[in-house]
């Protein structure tokens, strides 16, 4: 059933121009960044004389593309997640889903996976784009894998948060703004408290947990953080929808 709900979400995304426009814009942005990365690499490396100054092409280009991706997702995910539930509320299609033989958990998880499946297209696109470097260089696939896993986990967390805010309101725009503010605040935590490793607030930051992936390291602690973050907000969403049924 989860798959059926996810399919329905994907269908809705691609039934409107919104999905296609966002997909093409993001692909364009990442493509440009990739191209610039490759150009810059030659410019910078030709100036780097000592071996210690030299970095691999994967890391150099990868870092710039994944850095941009994690930043752009901050804007893109709220735009995509905003209508997941609020739009259904506004056009009063929720009873259709509530009276189908689905549990609320299946419904919420299905919607979540629908969005994550859409975003996976972008993650796979970036990974395959970077892999084309392999044609004329010997690249580090481990680095790309770690970054892809990290990016996927991060956008999944963004989506869960977006889904929760979408369940709270009838207005998609309000959901998008709230999601963006919340994500931005979580990003900013790193700026203010990131330098102090003992600070609890600093370790709440999503970017901070992405950093180890960005360096090519798959750390279980960070995986656990993203999964916990996602599960928390999905649970909150289920509870929010259940309240609808109880309070009316």
């Amino acid at each position: 059933m989860i798959i059926n709900v996810a399919r329905k979400e994907l269908k809705s995304v691609f039934a409107s121009p919104m999905g296609w426009v966002i997909l093409s814009l993001l692909m364009f942005a990442f493509g440009v960044q990739y191209l610039n990365g490759v150009n810059d690499y030659f410019a910078v490396m030709s100036g780097a004389m000592r071996p210690a100054e030299r970095t691999g092409v994967t890391q150099f280009v990868g870092q710039s593309v994944y850095g941009l991706a994690s930043f752009i997702m901050l804007f893109a995910v709220p735009l995509l997640s905003m209508r997941l539930i609020s739009e259904e509320r506004r056009s009063q299609t929720l009873p259709f889903l509530f009276s189908a033989p689905l549990s609320l958990t299946e419904l919420v998880v299905g919607k979540f996976f629908g969005l994550v499946a859409f975003l996976t297209i972008l993650v796979v696109y970036i990974a395959s784009m970077l892999s084309t470097l392999n044609i004329w260089a010997d690249i580090d696939f481990g680095f790309i894998l770690a970054n892809s896993v990290g990016l996927l986990l991060m956008v999944a967390s963004f989506s869960a948060l977006g889904l929760y805010f979408s369940s709270m309101t009838q207005q998609p725009v309000i959901a998008a703004i709230l999601t963006f503010i919340a994500l931005f605040a979580l990003m900013m935590l790193d700026r203010f408290f990131g330098s102090d490793p003992s600070n609890v607030l600093g370790s709440l930051s999503l970017t901070k947990h992405f950093q180890s992936f960005a360096g090519g390291l798959i750390d279980t602690a960070d995986i656990a953080y993203f999964i916990l973050f996602t599960v928390t907000f999905l649970t909150l969403t289920v509870r929010r929808l259940d309240a609808d049924r109880l309070r009316g």
Binding site: R7, K11, S12, S91, P101
Partner: protein
Amino acid sequence: MDNLTVEAIELTRLYGGREAVSNVSFNLTKGEVLGFLGPNGAGKSTTMKMLTGNLAPSHGSVKICGIDMIENPKEAKALIGYLPETRPLYKELTVDEYLAMSARLHRVSSKHIKAAVETAKERCGLGHMSKRLIENLSNGYQQRVGIAQAILHRPMVVILDEPTVGLDPIQIRDIRALIREVGKEHSVIISTHILPEVEMVCDQVQIIDKGKLVFNGSIDVLKRQRVGNKLLVGLHTPPHTDALLSVTGVAEAELLASGLIRVRFEGDVAPSEAIVQAAVHQGWGLYQIGPDQTSLEDVFMQLTYQDQAAIADQAVA
């Protein structure tokens, strides 16, 4: 017992302390069409939402074919087809896409989806609209898509909230025929405030007012209430009412503004024959005679009014 499709047991729903629906109990057996009548805000939709599991009842329970809606919501919901008041349509999809998705969500196996969609479209007269976006359909066709969605997976219980709103007379006739057809195999609950519709389609009627059931019974009972002990007589040269009163069986005669005479009679048999004979003998110029039916509206008013009167009595006592 196993013929019971819907059991509502003492359903009560509170909205912030105010009872929107209180103590509504009823049973529905297979092959019956139940009509839900009531003025605006009486609690029809709230009751339907509780029956379909969209709203949790404050007290009481709902059982669909013996399965409790609160304990086993998934199994119970699988047996229901529901068309809410506002049509739950995804307007960016085409009719085919929407119905296929709806079939998938209602656990129609992938082999049967196509056949189920085709049958539902055919039954609702949507065959030539398959590839159209729902957004571009007219109001009436959108309503048909809503109904198609509710009967698509052949549910045991079909619940339609005001299904004929926004349809043209021909479509209304089609939909009523469809409801009767579906009602033969399954159970149907419809809510409406169009009274003649209830009479045409339903086997059982419930009248709900201010959250309480004021009438629950078969349509025949309601019909019997309609046919009273009055006749309407039309005469070209009406005699004085005393002359009419002299006809055996006539208890009262009253000249109406329309020129007709309303005759109240005693006993069970209408004295139509006696009146006709008297009219012929005395040359009253009879042109019309028939039972004076109180309209369903009157019965409805009576029932809801009686209830209010009863409450007022209670308050006084």
